[in-house]
């Protein structure tokens, strides 16, 4: 045994530090954004989904739900912000899963970088993607006659609230991305989570015609609170403080539970 003859290597400061972490997250975020640039089709969901949803719901259901399409635009479009943020957030896990499949993750994990950097950079790139689709959504809505009855500050607040909620859901999505075997499985489970959440909410229709059990579900569904808060912010009517609180509490709880789980899972795969 020659191992005993090996003197322990000089103990060095191995902490990466804040500046290092920023640099690593920055470089990885750049990578994630360049992937989008190289594969613009991957932006279809972020760009087209808000437009398709707006067109479909406003012109197909608008008249039936609200009596006329203009009233429905004012009702539904603020809620779409939250729905878009959530859908994009759930897509993060799929991307993370494929990084593990292709061996790129192995390369990252043999580099002397902080474990959280990879996850934080996904988060940062996702924020950019979400912001772009919010701009597209609001821009398109204005084109077809949606009116912001308040001011730019409230628009920023509504977008910000949707982002905060979306970011908290990203952790759930990442955990799924690491726990499930294939990207397809991640997508499938994400759909299963998304469908009841988005339709069992006050986003597309007022909840008062729904059966009691469903109303109970819509009341605890954070997407309802998010839709109510955005509506209040953009239309300037209806309660504001309560739904905003509900969204913030949900987001904080979601992050507090799932962020450590996701990071732990990421570490464990080392």
């Amino acid at each position: 045994m020659t191992t005993a003859t090996i003197a322990p290597a000089r103990v060095e400061d191995t902490r990466i530090g804040l500046a290092g972490t920023f640099r690593h997250v920055g470089a990885l975020t750049r990578r994630n954004l360049m992937r989008i640039k190289a594969d613009p089709e991957s932006m279809f969901d972020a760009v087209l989904m808000p437009i398709i949803f707006t067109v479909l719901f406003v012109y197909v259901f608008g008249g039936a739900v609200s009596g006329n399409q203009d009233a429905y635009k004012q009702y539904m479009i603020p809620g779409l912000l939250g729905q878009t943020g959530l859908t994009l957030a759930m897509a993060v896990g799929t991307g993370l899963n494929s990084d593990f499949q292709t061996g790129v993750m192995d390369r990252f994990r043999t580099l002397p970088i902080g474990r959280a950097s990879v996850l934080l950079s996904k988060m940062a790139a996702e924020t950019c993607r979400a912001l772009l689709s919010f701009v597209i959504l609001i821009g398109f809505a204005l084109c077809i006659g949606f009116e912001v009855k308040t001011g730019p500050l409230e628009v920023v607040a509504a977008v910000g609230l949707s982002l905060v909620f979306g970011m908290s859901v990203v952790w759930v999505s990442m955990l799924l991305g690491m726990a499930l075997r294939s990207a397809q499985a991640v997508q499938g489970v994400a759909m299963l989570v998304l469908m009841p959440l988005q339709f069992g909410s006050s986003i597309f229709a007022p909840t008062n015609t729904m059966p009691g059990w469903l109303q109970t579900f819509t009341k605890v569904n954070p997407l309802s609170a998010l839709a109510d808060a955005s509506r209040s912010l953009l239309n300037g009517e209806g309660p504001l403080a309560h739904p905003v609180m509900v969204v913030l509490v949900w987001s904080a709880a979601c992050t507090a539970i799932f962020a450590p789980l996701a990071v732990a899972r990421f570490r464990k795969r080392t």
Binding site: T3, A9, R23, M34, R107, R109, T110
Partner: protein, 340 residues
């Protein structure tokens, strides 16, 4: 440019060993991927880890790259402990996997730049290093194209370049040529030989005896998670037997005559197979090769093909484990002794 890796002080005290592995065990359930592996790679040399699929080669590389933790045993790379000093160890190594781990959507340049930044190079240094390595691996023209448009060989070269950004002291090449065509394989071999000439220490895993012979100074043969042989390449080759020259005669009837001519010139080990029309001559050095060709050519034998054959992994295993070779060693033309 400054070295990125901080070399430990005790470089000399590890007795010149860049990698020291003692009794590494890794079990997956009841499967013993590694069952007590010992090996050593001396500074500045190439160790070939030879073994069939599922022998535990990739598991070994993953343990040594801190990607998985061993269940037992110790492993030091550049004097750093895989378990207790993973961060320092990661600055010491470069890894080229069996499956090229570059980002297919990014260009070659962007891939290298990203890794430079993750290794804490300044933006300017990362750019310069990327350009330098693209040039060196003949990828400058393709630098701006997404890696998914690269040929198999270009992708491996990019992968090699990526593992060299940080000027690692120890490089792991995990089956670097598996799945490549012969021409591309030669390209990769050339690159590896260049790296070695420049002083890199390399741990190379392979399934091919030929590759190990080309690139490695020493060999460790593993099977089912255990080391079954190790030593210098020449040593093992002597045990296993070197190349065999195979000459295909135009007229198989001439084969015995060919063998007799060689015998007259002192080459007594030639065997003849009239079934396949082949004359097989074990070759121990280049001179012998020249002699054989010279003799056959001078005597005017009609030859339609010449080939050299390196022992296959199977043959290596047979030679090492001492199990009798079933068909290869049996002289087909000789009458078998009756079984008593």
């Amino acid at each position: 440019m400054t070295r990125i890796a901080t070399a430990p002080n005790d470089r000399g005290t590890t007795a010149g060993n860049a990698v020291e592995v003692r009794g590494i065990v890794k079990h997956y359930g009841s499967t013993k991927a590694l069952d007590g592996v010992d090996l050593t790679v001396r500074e500045g040399t190439v160790l070939g880890v030879l073994g069939p699929n599922g022998a535990g080669k990739t598991t070994l590389v993953r343990v040594l790259s801190t990607l998985i933790k061993p269940d037992a045993g110790t492993a030091f790379v550049g004097g750093y402990d895989v378990l207790r000093q993973p961060k320092q160890l990661r600055r010491t190594i470069g890894l080229t996997g069996q499956y090229a781990s570059v980002d297919e959507l990014l260009s070659g340049y962007e891939n290298l730049y990203l890794i430079g930044r993750l290794l804490d190079l300044s933006s300017r240094d990362a750019k310069a290093r990327a350009a330098e390595l693209l040039e060196r691996f003949s990828l400058t023209e393709a630098a701006k194209r997404p890696a998914k448009t690269y040929s198999g060989g270009m992708r491996r070269r990019l992968d090699l370049a990526a593992s060299m950004i940080g000027r690692p002291r120890v490089l792991y090449l995990d089956e670097p040529t598996t799945g490549l065509d012969p021409r591309t394989r030669n390209e990769v071999w050339d690159e590896v030989q260049r790296m070695v000439a420049e002083g890199s220490t390399v741990l190379l895993t392979t399934q091919y005896m030929e590759e190990a012979e080309q690139l490695a100074d020493e060999l460790t043969v593993i099977d089912r998670g255990r080391v079954i042989a190790n030593g210098g390449v020449a040593e093992l080759k002597a045990k296993v037997g070197g190349q065999t020259l195979q000459v295909r005669a135009a007229h198989p009837a001439e084969l015995p005559e060919m063998a007799r001519c060689l015998h007259d010139r002192g080459i007594t080990s030639a065997t003849v197979s009239t079934d396949t029309g082949l004359l097989a001559v074990p070759i121990t050095d280049d001179e012998q090769l020249t002699t054989v060709i010279g003799v056959l050519g001078n005597r005017g034998f009609a030859i339609v093909g010449i080939d050299t054959k390196v022992p296959s992994l199977d043959e290596v295993f047979l030679a090492i484990t001492g199990k009798p070779a079933d068909t290869a060693d049996a002289a087909p033309s000789l009458a078998k002794e009756p079984v008593a």
